[in-house]
């Protein structure tokens, strides 16, 4: 039976009056897919720049743009990012055994002709990606060989991975579709919509934990033994801005997932305010009592944010926390 026009009008009015819809389809459409598209574009521009020149100065702007774009999507450790070791290769960190420098030294000492993008795709993830480029553009010591072929191969490899990631989310067989078709016949990945909400909630929680424990925790070290040298992307001066960008990305993801998380969004803003006010781009201040305190306050704010998000988002989304890739030790 066709619906009476009055009812249709009423439904339309209700739809207009309702707050902006927000759920995982919106998170995918408004945040995740544009995030990966921006990273693919920035990585392609970096590749183009590297093929034109491999001078650090010339590459610096494109390097930073690509790194910025990655940080916005870095916490999305799911689907295509987890295939072929992409997330690991794009930003291999932390590296407590110094494997990146070792593997890269071996590549530099080898045949330059072997440094093709195809060859590099087979190399250790520790030698590749953004921090691989950083080591070549801001070397700690003079490099043993002309880094140019490796700079170009690394940039090309990065651009390829970024395109693969973007493509892996799109299309009928893409990961976005796997999420959007949750609960339909034949979808073994997500058996219901709540499973998708749980997966994204778990990524937000794990992302905040990794910022507090790793990006802030590693340079903080202990009071007796601060470890400023362990800050992420220290050579390119990005340690703090990486934290800011990641928080911004997670905030956008949260907001797109649910409009009704005021405490979590306020906690994001508080942590972001502290981070943006922190005039310590590579957390060098952790070595002094005053500087250390500021980084610790930021770390506490991120942990408080994580706990607030845990309670509020779990309640709002009606899901529990799932397991995440960092659950090991």
């Amino acid at each position: 039976m066709p619906r009476p026009p009055v009812l249709l009008a009423l439904m339309a009015a209700l739809a207009l009056a309702a707050p902006a819809r927000a759920d995982y389809p919106e998170a995918i459409r408004d945040v995740i897919l544009p995030g990966y598209a921006a990273f693919a574009e920035a990585a392609a521009a970096l590749d183009t720049a590297a093929q034109a020149s491999c001078e650090a100065q010339a590459l610096e702007p494109a390097f930073h743009t690509a790194f910025d774009a990655w940080m916005a999507v870095a916490p999305l450790r799911i689907g295509p990012a987890e295939e072929d070791g992409r997330a690991l290769a794009i930003l291999f960190w932390p590296d407590p055994k110094g494997l990146g420098a070792k593997a890269q030294a071996a590549l530099l000492a080898g045949e330059p002709a072997a440094l093709t993008p195809e060859g590099l795709a087979q190399a250790s993830v520790a030698a590749r990606g953004l921090l691989g480029l950083e080591r070549l553009l801001w070397p700690a010591e003079p490099l043993p060989a002309d880094p140019c072929p490796l700079v170009r191969a690394t940039a090309a490899d990065l651009a390829r991975m970024a395109a693969d990631l973007r493509d892996g989310w799109q299309g009928d067989t893409g990961f976005a579709q796997a999420m959007l078709s949750a609960g339909t016949e034949g979808n073994a990945e997500f058996l219901s919509g709540p499973e998708v909400r749980q997966a994204i909630f778990t990524l937000i929680h794990a992302g905040l934990e990794q910022i507090a424990d790793q990006q802030l925790g590693r340079p903080l070290g202990s009071f007796d033994k601060p470890r400023p040298e362990l800050a992420q992307a220290r050579a390119s001066g990005r340690s703090l801005s990486n934290v800011v960008l990641e928080l911004q990305g997670l905030r956008a993801l949260t907001e797109s997932l649910t409009p009704d998380a005021p405490l979590t969004l306020a906690a994001f803003d508080h942590a972001l305010g502290l981070a943006e006010a922190l005039a310590d781009p590579v957390f060098a201040g952790v070595a002094t009592p005053g500087g250390r305190l500021k980084v610790e306050i930021l770390q506490q704010a991120v942990r408080a944010l994580r706990d607030t998000a845990a309670v509020e988002l779990a309640r709002e989304l009606d899901v529990d926390l799932g397991f995440n890739a960092a659950d090991g030790d």
């Binding site: 250790s124 529990d320 995440n324 030790d329």
Partner: protein, 416 residues
């Protein structure tokens, strides 16, 4: 706003859990007691074999000690599933199974291999240096004791790669570095590294022997402690029994964290993506395939509520599987199928390794067969993690509540 009673759930009121969580938790603790008990007795056998090696170093006594180490790994790896959910285990585990290590801290290594830009002690070589400076402090290591290893050397300078104790430190002393890269062959330390007097190779054989004995004694003491924690009246057993809801969540948290983040991620996929033969769990002995297999088996053990002891007897009882089945038979059936699949995929790695392709060879760049074997196991472990999450939901449990935090202890505080 989607309201939920998640954090206020009273899972124990649901009919599923009428199947007696207490009995399931008894089985869990019984398996822990048996598996840590077996770990202790096999470590004591290793201790005896090490004593024989040190007393009369020969190829035969060295091989016997290595065989005892390999045997000791069988029960121990099956206890790894008790990690992540039980704080008593987590606070202790780093002493016995820490990995990966900068082995140059302990003994001599090949030139150029003891470098780690993040670890100044990567080439310390305690065996060759009775005294040295650590964090600006002068250390007297003339007498190598279990206490010195545990309190001064282990995680020296707060660096995790400074592993001075546990299975892998002992493994390094029994096998030495595996310098074959991704080619065939394990570590090849000669028994002469333990010979006293003029025939000693590698230098400081007396200190090497003392270190090995001290590290083995320490392992036995640590395992003895943990077996006691799970015995009748032990603190770990009491902890899981105290709150059945938290106890069940401890089982599932151990299963999920070991499956996904630790085993599939940190130990298997990462090593493959690094193409680094050092990134295998038992990198000196080439016993990684067995360690991975028994880890996977341990996950299945605690779900099915059954463990095969080293003496051939079986510890079994009411299982988590029974509980999940009562609540959602589909989830239980799927999880059981997936646990069988991951054990099968890990068995395929064992079969390939025993057929001549060691785990480090599987990590070689371009070894498509090895890569496929490892990725199949990774995929199976990741897949079962999703069903472990479904089992959490089926039982009305909450990982969030279990992980706890100040705000979660008082959820209303956040909403005031």
């Amino acid at each position: 706003m989607r309201l939920t009673a998640l954090l206020l759930s009273s899972a124990l009121a649901s009919p599923a859990l009428a199947a007696d969580p207490a009995a399931v938790l008894d089985t869990y603790a019984d398996i822990a007691e048996a598996a840590y008990g077996d770990s202790l007795t096999t470590a004591q056998a290793l201790q005896a074999a090490v004593a024989a090696l040190v007393a009369a170093p020969s190829d035969a006594t060295l091989q016997a000690a290595r065989a005892a180490w390999v045997a000791a790994r069988v029960p121990y790896q099956q206890t790894e599933v008790f990690r992540f959910g039980n704080p008593i285990v987590d606070d202790w585990e780093g002493r016995v199974n820490a990995w990966p290590l900068d082995e140059g801290l302990i003994d001599y290594v090949a030139a150029g291999t003891a470098t780690n830009e993040e670890n100044p002690q990567a080439g310390l070589n305690v065996i060759a240096h009775p005294t040295f400076t650590l964090s600006g402090r002068q250390i007297d290591a003339t007498v190598l004791t279990p206490a010195l290893i545990a309190k001064t050397l282990h995680e020296a300078d707060g660096i995790e790669a400074n592993v001075a104790s546990g299975y892998h430190a002992i493994e390094f002393l029994l096998w030495g570095q595996d310098l074959n890269g991704t080619g065939p062959g394990a570590g090849a330390r000669p028994h002469t590294d333990f010979l006293q007097g003029a025939d000693c190779t590698g230098g400081s054989c007396d200190r090497r022997a003392t270190y090995l004995v001290a590290a083995t004694d320490l392992l036995v003491a640590d395992l003895d402690y943990m077996a006691g924690q799970w015995a009748e009246g032990g603190a770990a057993r009491a902890a899981v029994a105290a709150d059945p809801e938290a106890g069940l969540m401890a089982i599932l948290t151990g299963m999920g964290s070991l499956s996904y983040g630790e085993q599939a991620g940190e130990r298997m996929k990462l090593g493959l993506m690094l193409n680094d033969p050092e990134e295998e769990h038992d990198c000196f002995s080439d016993n990684t395939h067995m360690s991975h297999f028994y880890d996977g088996l341990g996950i299945r053990n605690v779900y099915l509520g059954a463990y095969n002891r080293v003496d051939g007897s079986v510890v079994a009882g009411p299982s988590l599987s029974n509980l999940v089945a009562a609540s959602d038979a589909g989830v239980d059936a799927q999880l059981r199928t997936e646990l069988d699949a991951s054990v099968g995929a890990l068995q395929a790695i064992v079969t390939a390794a025993e057929g001549g392709m060691a785990y480090d060879q599987m990590l070689a760049p371009g070894n498509a067969t090895g890569e496929a074997l490892i990725l199949a196991a990774v995929d199976a472990l990741v897949t079962q993690t999703r069903s472990i999450e479904r089992a959490v939901t089926a039982l009305g449990l909450s990982k969030l509540k279990f992980e706890g935090s100040d705000s979660l202890d008082n959820p209303n505080a956040v909403f005031q």
